[in-house]
Assembly symmetry: D5
Homo-oligomer: 149 residues x 10
Amino acid sequence: MAESEQDRIPGRYGFDEIASSHLEAWPNSYQDRDYVTHFEIPEFTCLCPRSGFPDFATIIVDYVPDASVVELKSLKLYINAYRNRQISHEASANAILDDLVTLLSPRWMRVVGDFTVRGNIKTVITTEYARPEYQGPRPALTRYLPAIG
Amino acid sequence: MAESEQDRIPGRYGFDEIASSHLEAWPNSYQDRDYVTHFEIPEFTCLCPRSGFPDFATIIVDYVPDASVVELKSLKLYINAYRNRQISHEASANAILDDLVTLLSPRWMRVVGDFTVRGNIKTVITTEYARPEYQGPRPALTRYLPAIG
Amino acid sequence: MAESEQDRIPGRYGFDEIASSHLEAWPNSYQDRDYVTHFEIPEFTCLCPRSGFPDFATIIVDYVPDASVVELKSLKLYINAYRNRQISHEASANAILDDLVTLLSPRWMRVVGDFTVRGNIKTVITTEYARPEYQGPRPALTRYLPAIG
Amino acid sequence: MAESEQDRIPGRYGFDEIASSHLEAWPNSYQDRDYVTHFEIPEFTCLCPRSGFPDFATIIVDYVPDASVVELKSLKLYINAYRNRQISHEASANAILDDLVTLLSPRWMRVVGDFTVRGNIKTVITTEYARPEYQGPRPALTRYLPAIG
Amino acid sequence: MAESEQDRIPGRYGFDEIASSHLEAWPNSYQDRDYVTHFEIPEFTCLCPRSGFPDFATIIVDYVPDASVVELKSLKLYINAYRNRQISHEASANAILDDLVTLLSPRWMRVVGDFTVRGNIKTVITTEYARPEYQGPRPALTRYLPAIG
Amino acid sequence: MAESEQDRIPGRYGFDEIASSHLEAWPNSYQDRDYVTHFEIPEFTCLCPRSGFPDFATIIVDYVPDASVVELKSLKLYINAYRNRQISHEASANAILDDLVTLLSPRWMRVVGDFTVRGNIKTVITTEYARPEYQGPRPALTRYLPAIG
Amino acid sequence: MAESEQDRIPGRYGFDEIASSHLEAWPNSYQDRDYVTHFEIPEFTCLCPRSGFPDFATIIVDYVPDASVVELKSLKLYINAYRNRQISHEASANAILDDLVTLLSPRWMRVVGDFTVRGNIKTVITTEYARPEYQGPRPALTRYLPAIG
Amino acid sequence: MAESEQDRIPGRYGFDEIASSHLEAWPNSYQDRDYVTHFEIPEFTCLCPRSGFPDFATIIVDYVPDASVVELKSLKLYINAYRNRQISHEASANAILDDLVTLLSPRWMRVVGDFTVRGNIKTVITTEYARPEYQGPRPALTRYLPAIG
Amino acid sequence: MAESEQDRIPGRYGFDEIASSHLEAWPNSYQDRDYVTHFEIPEFTCLCPRSGFPDFATIIVDYVPDASVVELKSLKLYINAYRNRQISHEASANAILDDLVTLLSPRWMRVVGDFTVRGNIKTVITTEYARPEYQGPRPALTRYLPAIG
Amino acid sequence: MAESEQDRIPGRYGFDEIASSHLEAWPNSYQDRDYVTHFEIPEFTCLCPRSGFPDFATIIVDYVPDASVVELKSLKLYINAYRNRQISHEASANAILDDLVTLLSPRWMRVVGDFTVRGNIKTVITTEYARPEYQGPRPALTRYLPAIG
Ligand SMILES: [Ca+2]
Ligand SMILES: [Ca+2]
Ligand SMILES: [Ca+2]
Ligand SMILES: [Ca+2]
Ligand SMILES: [Ca+2]
Ligand SMILES: [Ca+2]
Ligand SMILES: [Ca+2]
Ligand SMILES: [Ca+2]
Ligand SMILES: [Ca+2]
Ligand SMILES: [Ca+2]
Ligand SMILES: [Ca+2]
Ligand SMILES: [Ca+2]
Ligand SMILES: [Ca+2]
Ligand SMILES: [Ca+2]
Ligand SMILES: [Ca+2]
Ligand SMILES: [Ca+2]
């Protein structure tokens, strides 16, 4: 039987849900097509492995599912769990790719970590997985430089 | 004989038109060319299959017609009819593609469902159909990441 | 004792929460100051009283609380409840103002309904309440016309 | 009894509706408040009185109703009727103001005609009406000049 | 001998110039190169073949001339002449392509009709001509979807 | 009797029209209202009085006419005539104001000269005239600084 | 004697600096003027008091100093220290105002907390302090609604 | 007799011009009007007094001249001269104001220093001078917060 | 020996420098790489060959140098020299390409002339040169059409 | 043992860190993938080799690491060290590429120097390195020209 959200322990259930969460896969009902799912997750934060100061990023995931798709709420909680981890820019993008590839065995996947400026330098990491035989879409994610005008 | 729009039952005819609508095909007068029709439909809404809460999206359709084009008003009513359906992000984009391909037998078609943020995550589904022998245009629909500027 | 969100009846609890919701007031801990709370709610939809076709708007609320502030989740459910109501642009903005003034007895409040285009015309309704003796902030919400450049 | 829109004479009813249209007033249900209705009508076109060549503009109307509000479809048809009239920039903005003030007797009204470039010059006409005793809102419609940045 | 523009019949010459205009070709002085001319014509308007109501579009033409280029003023008058024609979105883009290809026998040409929203749906038609042996530039005209930022 | 534009001496009539032009006033048909006409003229160019190198600006004029309005084509030719004049940023904005005030005796007028960067510095001159008793509108032309966002 | 940043304990000094930090005041060298300092701090994050889930905001501070200005690094560490606190939107904006007013005794100060969307609603809190006799600048921080165009 | 720019010592004359430069005043030919000159200088850089690391800013000056205007090239060289100075954000904005007021004795002047982010915090200093009796224009330089749209 | 810029004849040296200028080539120190230099020159103006009225454009040059690069100041003066020439849109873009190819013998070059609107039509000319055997970069310069968003 | 940042010599340590800095390489933990790291460094400044006046640029680096990645703080100090060097646009972009290729032996690298306007011309240098056998990603960095719209 269902209970309302109000029954959850005030001030606690977010911690509990994040602590006990694990990425969940659901069946993909459209396996006959190479369709692309694109996620943008603007509220990623972790801690710098060198200084302990907070880092912030938007994480962008594009993938072509095979038998499984990722469950959206479990993905949110998985991202939330980076909040107290000390991890570099390169490692966080590659670790998210590794974890999602392990879970989903997708046909193709790309993860982008678009970090805010540190030391006057902005860093963006782009990392990609494809099955060796993959021939489907790999949609461009272009950075542009505006012309005068 | 025609009657003005004012003759329609006040407060009712929209419901009736949506309920009785079906996608309509019209003949394509320019079958000798692989030209592209692009639709943007910013007022898609449906209900989440898990929670029942409303979801919102812009639906973008690009296609190269063969013998038929879709009638614009019937497309609008078809989109309106999702308002009370419980359907996932992946399913709505793929279902729109299936229904339009069945109706039109186009040479090529792509459907994008660009959904608003849920659980701090934005989702965009892109799904595509092409006849096996199709060699015509497949116009890019790029997402961009702005550079510092 | 709390139960997780997963215990709620699949596909049902959103309907139930919207149906049983009512606007809730919480105490304002900073009554000594005339501070402003600004809400932007981009997912308002209702039905046209004349045709029954859907309308879409962003609702913007600015207010200076007195003894009470509005609880955020109850505000979301209150807005969700317009989905199946037939109501005009003018009436929806003024009704939201009336309901929130009744609930909160604020020092000052302004409601804007920024509707999408209908019949090639975009409509925005702005309506405001102030206690007769109110002298506090009324932050501008300017529409701009870009110059050539 | 209502008939569907499909019963209207194909290719004709738009001409007929524009030709027979007249601005219509509806009662204002919120006369106790000085609320503002803002319309943006981006598809205004008329003919230059000097050359006969077409002119294009966005018409922007802001007003505080008294006993009456303008009916939206009659406003659209009224604007459509300028398509074959030869009228200057200044005269079209002032004529729209005159016609709407005559119809509605509003507390306050402002009409902007934001015309596209002619002879390398962009022209915008802003004209306003207020009852002598009017003390209510006159929302700013600012043009901005972007700073370097 | 030349007369000034002021000698033209006041209020008439625009009608006359549009009525008597025909697309004009001029010689191309740079036939040794496959260079591209791009035109943007934001003031296209015609009438809906179904309703008679006005439609609005930006017409975009890209082409690689062979022996001839189109004369700019004759192109403007040709576009003006659609104002009172009832023609569909698909037909207007394809007819402009047909007329310009007939006039110029270009190496390559693309016409885009970028129409304003009707029935909550925006439509863009893209249609293209190339000589069978053409190998020159076909510059992309990308639509973009902004990422979260 | 009118002759077409084609009768004008090829390659010459622009020079002649600019050389012989003078600002022209037309009667204002709406003298009972303090309405505002806003012009943006993005193609102003003159020569630096110090170096002789070209300068470029957008000229923006806002005014409230009294008995007269400025004729648009004569204003264009008047602006064209600065092309070969050596004049400073401050002097060109103030001279345009002086000439238009002399011609029109307006109730209020403001001229802005928004010049492109020279020596890494962008300069904008804003100068204004008002009759001593003037109480009408003086619409703001705000420069903004974007916040982080 | 100074040591380089490299001497700090790897992976630790950020935690230590945040834990031991306190807001610091420095003397204001320009007390004779009412000048304004504006800070934008886009990397504020705290925890929701109800759920424990993370919240994100840009904090904007404007103030007119009297005898003291706030030291920039101590302000950064003070903001960092909210990362593990459970605090509401209203309370965080008002608490930052309280703490900075206590530290600096400024002539005037305004704090804005511009939070990201939660439950489909964006919230912005604006709270302000002024000495009773303060007559100096209070620079506007306008939200705008873009017009069609 | 004039010599060309090419006669200047290669690689040296910029240093020399900056080292020997001093702010220069020229007579104001339009003293009868309170007109505003606005400068934007996006290439200001200095050194942090605490660390010695470089800082970057756009400097914005608005002023109403009295008998004198500032000569543009001398202003550029004056700004260039900050490149090797160690000076705080507050001091650089106030020092530029002091130097220009001393030089020009203007009726009114405002200086803004809009600095790039340091320590995740963006700082903008706004400081202003006016003669006690000054009643002329003080054009707003608004920061805006974009609404959802 | 060098003289300062102040020695140049006041009001004259710009004319002289433009009149006596010629495009200058400098040696390319990085001939081992196919690197791209991109120039944007927003202040191009010439005269219409038909009417004598002024035309305005941004000229964009991309090229891969071989033995020579163009000297920047000589390029500026070369562009300045078009101010009093009567030349069509097509001819100016192709002539700039011809002159720079003759001067530099580059590996690859593209010139774009992006002209302002004339007769309600905007024109952009793109013309390109490549050595027959060239295989290096040809960076895209995309025009985009914004999607609804 | 670590000392706090406060122990560094006030006003000196930035100079010392820049003077003694050298680019540092760290091991790449994800050598099995061709992932891309993108840096944007908006605060590059150097001195013109011809005049000695300051130049400003944003430097953009994209690379696919092999055994090593660049340490971020050493990259910042390396960029800081250009402040007092006289170096041309072409040389600075190519020198940064040379230095980073020497340090990292990457699989692929591209450096862009996006300089601010000088002599009314904006210059962007793009230079690239790839191992002969490299087949991995080379992400596009497109400049766009906005269409009318
Ligand atoms: Ca790192
Ligand atoms: Ca889903
Ligand atoms: Ca910028
Ligand atoms: Ca209504
Ligand atoms: Ca622009
Ligand atoms: Ca007129
Ligand atoms: Ca159609
Ligand atoms: Ca943003
Ligand atoms: Ca000057
Ligand atoms: Ca709250
Ligand atoms: Ca526009
Ligand atoms: Ca400081
Ligand atoms: Ca031409
Ligand atoms: Ca939007
Ligand atoms: Ca150079
Ligand atoms: Ca637009």
